[in-house]
Symmetry: C2
Subunit: 232 residues, 2 copies
């Protein structure tokens, strides 16, 4: 039976707009065939130039950036906005984030985090000649439960959701609830070695079920269409 | 820097009402100081006798069990009910589950899954003489995102939420979003080696940050009071 290893990627330098993440990651980690590399949104957004200046003395400026990133505001309480982004994510402040960014700047979510993941995966595959998968993760809150967890906002080379429909459980009965969001579980697992304050922005997960390796995207498999959502 | 290992616990026999899980787990796994043992709700409910007979030919009987487990129904679509349980969990069918149970039976959630986790932890600690933590996990859906993930419904000996407020990020700024639901991330990580159909009902996570080991409960740290929830 397989066991998994979760390995922090240490020593990644500060990322700047235009940086190519694949060679930076390859320089910091011994990557092997079958690895899943989880990279946080923050460094992906920085590399892709999704950073904007916001005057810290102008309260309206921050709100305007959030409004520009939102296609729908679901809830508002004080300074907190729960909004849906153009990519379909529902999260605090439409993903606009001031942490781990210099004062006076914020990061925005990647325009297409599945594409971001593919670009990193393709770069790693070309330079290392190994088959691996990439997940871009971000930290979201959720209804009903306190505390944030990391989830996948993009993926390449690995299933976002594994469908066990049609297989049977350990007692031979058909399973009822069966679509497991493995990309979200991998993102959550990676966060356990990253923390928020340690500067570790990527992790490797080794030993993942090879049957999960395939073309997939978070957008098509995990983002729930609003019309199918019981809470929108 | 720490790395984590996630190890499936194999060979756990079919669990029956009255079984003591701690010695059963200890017999199947080489447990070490500092391990986090994640045990699925299904075997905990079976051991605690939270199994009820439901006539499979009586559609109303299953609905009645779900109603009895619900303190509030949030949404209903067809056969699916999203309900809040007495313990404060919001989940499909109030946690009443027909999978991995013989035909004609369903499992209910443990009455107090934090207590379930404490009982297993105390049993393992007494027999093995090692310090370890226990999480009881279950598989929940969520708004906005498709696919289910495993979350913690009970814990013992480990933080449910780790509060990083007051610490600073890698750039020395105060962090904004900082309460990480590590118990949920550990449950999600464990699910990656369990799957739904393989009969693996527990996993060990080795290498977890020792500063997270403390008295805690899911109920007090993760269950969000309805009055503080923007979506109830």
């Amino acid at each position: 039976m397989r066991r998994l290893e979760i390995i922090p990627v240490e020593g990644l330098p500060e990322v700047r707009p235009g940086d190519r993440l694949a060679p930076m990651l390859a320089a910091c980690a011994e990557l092997a065939d079958g690895d899943v590399v989880v990279v946080t949104q923050k460094v992906v957004s920085k590399a892709e130039g999704r950073v904007v200046a916001v005057d810290p003395d102008d309260a309206g400026a921050y709100a305007a950036v959030i409004a520009a990133e939102s296609v729908r505001v679901l809830r508002r309480r004080g300074d907190l906005v729960i909004a849906e982004t153009a990519a379909g994510f529902v999260c605090a402040n439409a993903g606009v984030d001031r942490s781990n960014v210099p004062d006076g700047y914020v990061t925005l979510l990647p325009l297409d985090a599945d594409r971001s993941a593919r670009r990193i995966r393709d770069g790693l595959r070309a330079s290392l000649g190994v088959e691996l998968a990439v997940i871009v993760s971000d930290t979201f809150g959720r209804p009903w439960r306190q505390g944030v967890t990391d989830v996948a906002i993009g993926c390449a080379g690995i299933a976002a959701v594994v469908d066990l429909r049609g297989t049977s459980d350990a007692l031979g009965r058909a399973l009822e609830v069966t679509e497991v969001a493995v990309a979200d579980e991998l993102a959550a697992a990676a966060e356990l070695v990253m923390g928020k304050a340690t500067g570790v922005a990527a992790a490797i997960i080794r030993g993942v079920d090879r049957s999960w390796f395939r073309d997939a995207s978070v957008r098509s498999e995990i983002v729930r269409p609003p019309a199918e959502d019981l809470f929108r």
